[in-house]
Amino acid sequence: MDRIPILKFGNALLVTIQVDMHDRLATALEEDLTSKIVAHNSRGVLIDISALEIVDSFIGRMLDNIAAVSRILDADTVVVGMRPAVAITLVELGLSLTGVKTALNVERGMALIHDRLAGSEADDADDQD
């Protein structure tokens, strides 16, 4: 079966969805990401959906689930690159992705993850004092 590639990028995982996903592919991505977060001790997950022409309730729920599971595993999920027409449609559909952090592009998404990491490292340093 096809798989969506997951790249390790420092402390984070990077996923770029380039294909029109059928439901099984979306479910497989959810499972793969969860095991990679644990395997690589990742603190952040960046999902680039700039190539996606639509996000329907199934894909929306997948993004919500990934964010919820990674939060429990102490990793932040940021979804980047959503097309304006997709955002308008999602809201009208009734899906506002409240559990998912979003950023306009990969650069800003990475910055979000790094900010959070820098913050938690500073906390760790404080604890040692």
């Binding site: 029109d20 996903m21 059928h22 439901d23 099984r24 022409e53 639509i54 996000v55 329907d56 309730s57 199934f58 929306g60 729920r61 097309r83 304006p84 027409a85 997709v86 308008i88 449609t89 009208e92 559909l93 009734g94 899906l95």
Partner: protein, 134 residues
Amino acid sequence: MPTTKTDRVAIKISDDVVRVRQLTRALSVEVGLSLVDQTKIVTASSELARNTLDYGGGGEVTAEIVEQGGRRGVRLTFEDKGPGIADIEQALKDGFTSGKGMGLGLGGAKRLCNEFSIDSRPGEGTKVTIARWK
């Protein structure tokens, strides 16, 4: 309402949902829908195709380019011979689901289109028609 083009796609496996989306996109582009309207009807078609598959046990979509009073539009009719919907009003409410979904499919699809009609009889099947006009 004159129909200028008709296509049919069987909905039997989850790959067919992708095929329905692609066909809807192609017809929307042909009609000249705006990008936002294209995205809306493609998203609605994805929701309804999944309903046909998951709740109707599979079925078929008829996709047409239609004309009325000089306007062109895309019309999609999803048909299955599944268990049907006993309470349509309840099924259209957000958050209502009889399965694993979020319960946004039917109501969401209705909001994303200009026209929406549903005909369902318990034990006989369900037919949902949507249209988006330029």
